[in-house]
């Protein structure tokens, strides 16, 4: 039965109706066991997908989710995030929007007691989960072009103030990264919000004449000028000082502790990924795994509870791997997935075609890599950030996929883009060229409701090619 007094059924992905049925077997004691912010009044989050569907997440009617208690807990927690941010404000926590850096500034914010960072860009999934263009339509009214990243939903969310509370402060990172979000952030500032802008430097490899001493080499072999760390540190200190001003607390030991906690999350996710990718049968679905990866950014506004959830997921996956059980058949074809998909349905659909996602590049490498705890904290953060996905060259970005390809661990690559996304428009053809040893399919994720038969046909054809390749 395990420590949660509930036995998971045989692993599979199930529908919303099936989850409602299964939820009836979960007793009230278990439901009340899992809470966030230590609050028993409103902090309960273990609900079936039907709850969130009823409150607007319409795509849950056609998604299939993992049937473990761990997955249910994760989904309840993730879908509850909007409420959690409002509850954070109601319980006098400071709610700080950290934008554009995807995973580093949040660690500084989390160092301060009762401060909750969040990434408004993660609201880009909301139009798809809701099967609704409400946010995107409002973003258009506010001036965002349609051929831009779906994270433009964040602009609408800031305007409406119905998806998260008004932030106590906003840190916005811009620079050698995606322009769409830089423009979205500027549009948000035009709404009248108080911002601190931070610089995202380029990760530039040395030219032949450069002496190696002036460059730092990262764990994955990338190099960048050492002075770029100094630029980042300069900005991190500004962030720290602002947080000190907001909270009245100035204790660097807290930053060390926050880094340790962030590493705990990253290590757990690394273990989860390794266990999942090396298993002969996929123990956990790709949609859940993408959601797990993005938790590295900020723990969905409660890092402590997120760690507990990850531990439970890890236990579940370990047990499935040991029992050689999973959610796909053993002959599922391993592929790599580049760029997170805004529409979660695609992850379900691709798995239904017998393709198993074992390698990912979800533009958040900076939130995946470990942070050196032996180093001065700001420098350690800078060094981890300098491994960010989008700040270097395309070739660097896909190096892990190239490696997986050479080792024979993947048999195809799927790239999901958005029309008008700045890095999508420029990277895709180059990636196709650099990854040409395996079949590569690049598709544009359309707006909500937009997955057409044409897109499905292309995915089916891709899957057929991979299946044929095996024969």
């Amino acid at each position: 039965m395990g420590k949660y007094m509930y036995r998971d059924p045989e692993p599979k992905k199930i529908t919303l109706d099936e989850w409602s049925m299964q939820f009836r077997n979960i007793d009230n004691k278990t439901i009340k066991k899992f809470i966030y912010y230590n609050n028993h009044d409103w902090g309960i989050y273990l609900q079936p997908p039907a709850t969130f569907m009823l409150y607007g997440a319409r795509e849950l009617k056609r998604l299939r989710l993992d049937n473990s208690l761990a997955a249910l807990r994760m989904w309840g927690f993730v879908f509850n995030e909007s409420e959690r941010l409002f509850r954070a404000r109601q319980s006098c926590k400071k709610v700080i929007a950290t934008m554009g850096d995807l995973g580093t500034i949040s660690i500084i914010v989390m160092a301060f007691p009762n401060c909750v960072p969040f990434y408004p860009e993660c609201i880009w999934w909301t139009p798809f989960f809701n099967e609704s263009t409400v946010l995107l339509d409002m973003a258009s009214e506010l001036g965002a072009p349609e051929a831009a990243c779906f994270s433009r939903a964040a602009l609408a969310a800031f305007f409406k103030k119905a998806y998260f509370p008004k932030a106590d402060y906003i840190f916005a990172s811009t620079g050698a990264t995606c322009d769409d979000y830089s423009c979205i952030m500027q549009s948000i500032e035009h709404l009248g919000y108080d911002f601190m802008w931070l610089e995202v430097p380029l990760r530039r490899s040395p030219a032949r004449h450069d002496t190696m001493n002036s460059y730092v080499t990262t764990k994955n072999g990338s190099r960048y000028p050492r002075r770029f760390e100094e630029y980042l540190i300069h900005d991190y200190i500004r962030v720290w000082e602002k947080m000190v001003e907001l909270t009245g607390i100035d204790d660097m030991d807290l930053l060390t502790a926050s880094i340790t906690k962030a590493n705990r999350v990253r290590n757990l996710v690394e273990k989860i990924k390794r266990a999942t990718n090396q298993a002969t049968i996929a123990p956990f679905p790709a949609l859940e795994l993408m959601t797990i990866e993005f938790g590295n950014l900020y723990g969905y506004a409660d890092m402590d509870e997120w760690i507990r959830i990850l531990e439970m997921i890890h236990d579940t996956i370990e047990s499935r791997v040991q029992e050689k059980k999973g959610v796909m058949t053993e002959d599922a074809i391993p592929i790599a997935w580049v760029n997170p998909t805004a529409d979660p349905y695609l992850l379900n659909y691709v798995e239904d075609l017998g393709l198993r996602v074992v390698e990912t590049e979800y533009v958040i490498n900076q939130a995946i890599v470990g942070i050196d705890e032996q180093m001065e904290p700001f420098r350690a953060l800078a060094q981890s950030f300098m491994q960010a996905s989008l700040i270097g060259s395309t070739a660097q970005r896909i190096s892990s996929i190239n490696k997986a390809m050479r080792k024979g661990r993947i048999e195809g690559i799927l790239i999901t883009n958005m029309l008008g996304g700045s890095h999508c428009a420029m990277e895709t053809k180059l990636m196709e060229r650099l990854l040409k040893d395996k079949p590569v399919l690049a598709i544009d994720v359309p707006a909500p409701f937009g997955i057409t038969e044409q897109i499905k046909t292309r995915l089916q054809a891709f899957a057929e090619v991979l299946h044929e390749q095996r024969k």
């Binding site: 919303l16 109706d17 409602s20 939820f23 009230n28 439901i31 409103w42 309960i44 989050y45 609900q47 079936p48 039907a50 709850t51 569907m53 009823l54 409150y55 607007g56 319409r58 009617k61 909007s82 409420e83 409002f86 509850r87 109601q90 809701n130 099967e131 609704s132 409400v134 409002m138 305007f159 409406k160 119905a162 998806y163 509370p165």
Partner: protein
């Protein structure tokens, strides 16, 4: 979405309702008059078609929403819907709502009563079809509410009402048996409503003080409202309990039901605010006869007064009618209600 109101509405009804249920103040208070069968009148649809055809019910509701621009769709025809599925016979007049003809327990024993399948039996699937259709059509912007009779009201519709009331004194055991089975069926119905995309609203008109004593309410109706709401709270849903009729004698008991919002009818709103507003969100409570028979100007004046008071509720407020908007209420009267509310409802 801005008829008759100079302020720009930025939020969708769904966003507005979502803020209310997490104890946040939206841009203005939610406006959810009980437009149920009146929707058929607005849509110029025969009543019988409305309550016997799911898609038509949904289309009528959507037409009413578009006409009036309030903040939720509410599905309801009459309180006998579960009792009917359990075996009570109803007549379907062409131009009026179903009327009970033969309560099932007048011809059958409780042990032999049908436990209906909401997907197949009688008009329960019509409800579900209506909810699913509305959810698919407009559910991203508008909350979909489904009014579900509570076990006590259903219990009374399974029986001869006089006999039922006497049994509450002389044979309470039998009443509890009836209520238990009603609860079981209601839970099952709510389960399917939720899966369809509807938020169950519990209605218990036959539990009001217009019908039973406060003691009978406390003994029989309240525990089963509680149990039903406990079940719904497993889903972390914020539950509205609607008891139309007199409720002043039982006001202090209402928080014990566990309901998060209380929809009131014949009670002074100031009194309700005084006794309840720090425990429950208040819904209501414009007089249904006033909305049907007063002039638009009179309605506007009274609504403004009511809403201004209601917005003082510390836990939150939904401007509504005390009970269902009568079927043939003049459209301009309902518009007067909505527009007057929107004039004063901004936080």
């Amino acid at each position: 979405m801005n008829k008759g109101n100079s302020k720009r509405e930025i939020l969708t009804p769904r966003e507005r309702f979502g803020l209310l249920v997490i104890d946040e103040k939206p841009d203005r208070c939610n406006i959810i008059p009980l437009v149920t069968s009146h929707a058929a009148y607005v849509a110029k649809m025969p009543l019988k078609r409305y309550y016997t055809h799911g898609k038509s019910m949904a289309q009528a509701q959507i037409a009413a929403l578009e006409e009036y621009q309030y903040d939720a769709l509410g599905f309801f025809s009459e309180v006998g819907i579960i009792a009917e599925a359990m075996g009570s016979e109803f007549e379907y007049p062409d131009d009026d709502l179903p009327v009970i003809k033969t309560p099932v327990l007048t011809k059958q024993r409780l042990a032999n009563i049908n436990i209906p399948d909401p997907r197949h039996d009688k008009r329960l699937p019509i409800y579900l079809e209506a909810i699913e259709y509305a959810y698919a059509t407009i559910g991203d912007k508008v909350p979909i509410l489904a009014y579900v009779p509570a076990p006590f009201t259903t219990g009374m519709m399974l029986s001869d009402p006089n006999k039922f009331l006497i049994q509450t004194i002389k044979q309470p055991g039998t009443i509890f048996e009836i209520l238990e089975i009603s609860l079981k069926v209601t839970i099952e119905f709510c389960y399917h409503i939720i899966n369809a995309g509807g938020l169950p609203i519990i209605v218990d008109p036959l539990a009001s003080s217009s019908v039973i004593s406060p003691r009978a309410y406390k003994t029989f109706a309240l525990p089963y409202e509680q149990k039903l709401i406990d079940f719904l709270h497993r889903y972390d849903l914020d539950i509205i309990l609607h008891i139309c009729g007199e409720t002043e004698p039982i006001l202090d008991l209402l928080p014990d039901t566990g309901a998060d919002l209380i929809s009131l009818d014949k009670v002074d709103i100031s009194l309700a605010l005084d006794r309840l507003s720090n425990k429950m969100r208040i819904v209501g409570n414009f007089s249904t006869s006033a909305i049907a028979f007063s002039s638009p100007n009179e309605i506007r004046k009274k609504v403004r007064e009511m809403v201004k008071k209601g917005m003082l509720s510390s836990k939150g407020y939904i401007a509504s009618t005390g009970c269902e908007v009568p079927i043939r209420t003049p459209i301009e009267n309902v518009k007067a209600f909505i527009n007057a509310t929107k004039e004063v409802a901004w936080y």
